[in-house]
Amino acid sequence: MARYWLKALVGVMLLGMGTVAPSYALDERAFKQLAAEDNDARIAALNKIVADGDVAVIPLLKELRDGLLGVTAQGQLVTVTDEGVVKDASTGASVNATSDDVQSIVVNNRLRGAIDAALAALRLSAPDRATRLAAAREISTDADEEMLPLIHRALAKETDAEVKNLLAQAEAIIHLKSPDAAARRAAVGVLGQSENPNTRQTLAALLEKRPDGTYAEPDATVRVAAQKAIHAIEQRLIFPRLIGTLFSGLSLGSVLLLTALGLAITFGLMGIINMAHGEMLMIGAYTTYVVQTLFRSYLPGAFDFYLAAAVPAAFLVAALVGIALERGVIRFLYGRPLETLLATWGISLMLIQLVRMLFGAQNVEVANPSWMSGGYALAGGVVLPYNRMVIIVFAALVVAAVWALLSRTRLGLYVRAVTQNRVMADCMGIPTPRIDWLTFGLGSGIAGLGGVALSQIGNVGPDLGQHYIVDTFMVVVLGGVGQLAGTILAALGLGEVNKFLEPYSGAVLGKIIVLVFIILFIQKRPQGLFALKGRTAEA
């Protein structure tokens, strides 16, 4: 009761203050109807707002969608901000009321969908081409009959061919529901120009047979036209899809390459498998996380460039851990590759537990710098994400650096010499123990770089390395040792094969097929794709 009186009191005060004139013409009545109980009435009100076609209502519609809009006891349309401040919806003038006094307009899913469509429709008349294009793309898949007049109006005004094309498709989708078979046939013809996979589905739905034997589309000629249109769309989608699959394969391949490169080098040099290699990836990823956190607290302005600091930091940290590992454990186990495998596995267990205790068992969040988010859209809804592109470029740079190091420096010469014949290299005065730890540090450092890349595309948690070890080993086994080209070819090949198999067999079966393939491949070439040439006597 007291609350009621309070509301009334506030209302009287507001009346006394008088209302500020709205800054633009706004059909407040239609908006208030949005608060009605009846859903159909609400949709009708929304359609009326859209039909008026006033761009100025866009912010209001957004607020409505986000559930910020409400009506006060006096029937004033207000916005409640996140901080709980109440403002007049049209003028933005502050209103002397608390959020408790506002009856907020409840938006259900149906209304929300209608609002999104309405927003897209309104944006069709925006002056900016990009906005119109985005809006047209949005409604081209999901057009409503009520929007028809609006689309017609936009079509008449539109000058840009691409937007026009999309609008025509939106119109055609609406016409598909027309009772006139000729109109439907014409609409199907227009839809055949589409590059959108959703349109293909819309057309395919026409050909579906109902349980009673009739088709969703009664007219046979329309069905034939639809069949043709589907075929045309599929033809047009082949190329962008191919590019998309190639790209994701390349992306997976470059991730595999970054993870396996270091392992291939150390395996080639010392003949040991470092089971803790996956944990070097994890250390690199956590280093990225630490650098990111430091940037966030001390250099928020330079946050977009934190990767520039994370890359060398991850390399150094992982390399130091690797060197410590080689000096502390592995050097005592030379000539016993199987024991080394077990000891390094023990190290990996300890590193995982250490990280779990330091950072917690949960995944930590590593944010992409803003310039890496988003992607380049191809036709047919295929998007090439920027972060994946950056990783492909990054992998290429790392490979180039490693190649330069191995083939253009003295250290590289020594590494190749020891890889080919350790005893002979030793006799020639090459300090093999030093080469060993340097190379081990290099291999671990490269894994650290791989960790930086992984932190940008996936979860960072203590188990990060475990997810990649089997794939990484497969790359090394397939690529053979001591040859950069083998590792590159194996990594990229595995990435592409995986991604091309995925649509047919599903991700898991695809992976199993690849594993079986590798086991069979090893039958033919036990030394990998590129075996070292020369006489290597088997022990």
């Binding site: 395996f267 003949g271 040991i272 498998i273 089971m275 454990v329 005592f332 186990l333 016993r336 590759p337 199987l338 024991e339 080394t340 495998l341 077990l342 000891a343 596995w345 023990g346 190290i347 990996s348 267990l349 300890m350 995982i352 537990q353 205790m357 475990q466 070890i469 089997v470 080993f473 497969m474 090394v476 086994v477 898991v508 079966l509 992976k511 199993i512 594993l515 079986v516 590798i518 086991i519 069979l520 090893i522 039958q523 033919k524 036990p526 088997e538 022990a539």
Partner: protein
């Protein structure tokens, strides 16, 4: 004394016979007798104790199988978990059928199949309600997989770390396969909620004791079989292959067949261990095939001492005993301990605890 009996008595030295016989008597006679006491008696052994020791005996059998291939033939398998799990799944299929219509959905199908909306058993479940066929599968499925895999691997002379890595990929691939619901083995959750075996209720303490005794007996038989193998000429050829495969080959031995036989036998032993494990523990799921589990098997053998067989049993007992103690008292430190064990044993105890015992004995005499 006939030649067979003479050979039998020479399998172990007199002291080893005494120790092993004592342990066998303890596990196979004293434990079941103590289980006959009323449950409130201070000497009564709890179900927990029976389960723990029963589990460790299954692990010991896996360690035995591992020692056979790694210790004597020099083949380090990082995928023995897959054979263990396949034996377990073969047994699990039978146990699932034994549930009958007492599942959540009261269907003749296992619950997970009802959940997937399957109407009938897939073809590979045929005959899973027969205990005899289930036992055949326990032996044949891991054996066949090992034979085919080994045939191809040894034919192309894959060895050393390459072989280890490929076996790891094998168990990883199987784990992925069994994680899928559509594979028809219960996906993530695997098989559980077993009710009875051969009509005996699994919840009954007497059934638990029975399974314990059967496990102990089979473990003892497996130890004798392995010991007999490695002390025979066959065992010497294996050791020759391990130490210098090229020379063994040039001496006219078909090393591939020797390796293939011991590899397949090892897988079968693992499968039997898995089949004994499942009814005692009451669950089998794909995580048994995770690469980490298979690597752990290797450390049991390394801790006990390779190429000793009894060392493998000792190692499995020590590590798993330590594991159940750690996970109860210091769960955070178990991985440190296990990791340190891997490193410490490879660096300082290349011959494991058996090597340590031997040195200590030699020092006394």
């Amino acid at each position: 004394m006939g030649p067979v009996a003479a050979r039998f008595t020479r399998l172990f030295g007199p002291r080893a016979w005494l120790v092993l016989g004592g342990i066998a008597a303890l596990l196979l006679v004293v434990v079941p007798l103590l289980r006959l006491l009323p449950p409130d008696h201070p000497l009564y052994l709890s179900d927990y104790f029976i389960l723990l020791i029963g589990k460790i005996m299954c692990y010991a059998m896996v360690a035995l199988a591992m020692d056979l291939v790694w210790g004597y033939a020099g083949i380090l398998s990082l995928g023995h978990g897959v054979f263990f799990a396949l034996g377990g799944y073969a047994m699990g299929m039978y146990l699932m059928r034994e549930i009958g219509t007492e599942g959540q959905y009261h269907s003749f199908l296992p619950d997970f199949m009802v959940f997937l909306d399957w109407k009938a058993f897939p073809w590979y479940w045929a005959g899973s309600d027969s205990f005899v066929l289930a036992m055949l599968k326990v032996i044949l499925v891991p054996g066949l997989l090992a034979y085919v895999f080994g045939y191809f691997a040894f034919r192309s002379r894959i060895k050393g770390v390459y072989f280890s890595i490929i076996t790891q990929a094998l168990t990883f691939a199987f784990m992925l396969l069994f994680f899928r619901n559509e594979t028809g083995f219960g996906g993530n959750n695997g098989f559980t909620d077993f009710k009875r075996i051969l009509g005996f209720s699994l919840a009954d303490p007497a059934t638990k004791t029975g399974l314990f005794v059967v496990t102990g007996l089979i473990l003892a038989l497996a130890l004798l079989l392995c010991r007999w193998l490695v002390t025979s000429k066959f065992g010497r050829v294996l050791a020759a292959i391990r130490d210098a495969e090229g020379r063994a080959m040039f001496s006219g031995y078909n090393t591939r067949d020797y390796k293939l036989f011991v590899w397949t036998l090892s897988a079968v032993l693992c499968g039997i261990a898995g089949a004994l494990y499942v009814p005692q523990v009451g669950i089998i799921n794909p995580s048994e095939m995770s690469p980490a589990n298979s690597i752990e098997i290797a450390v049991w053998v390394a801790v006990g001492g390779r190429a000793t067989l009894t060392g493998a049993l000792l190692g499995a007992g020590l590590v798993n005993g330590a594991k159940s103690w750690f996970t109860m008292t210091f769960p955070d430190f178990w991985l440190y301990f296990l990791g340190a064990l891997f490193i410490g044993v490879t660096l300082f105890l290349p011959r494991g605890f058996m090597g340590l015992l031997e040195r200590w004995q030699r020092g006394r005499t």
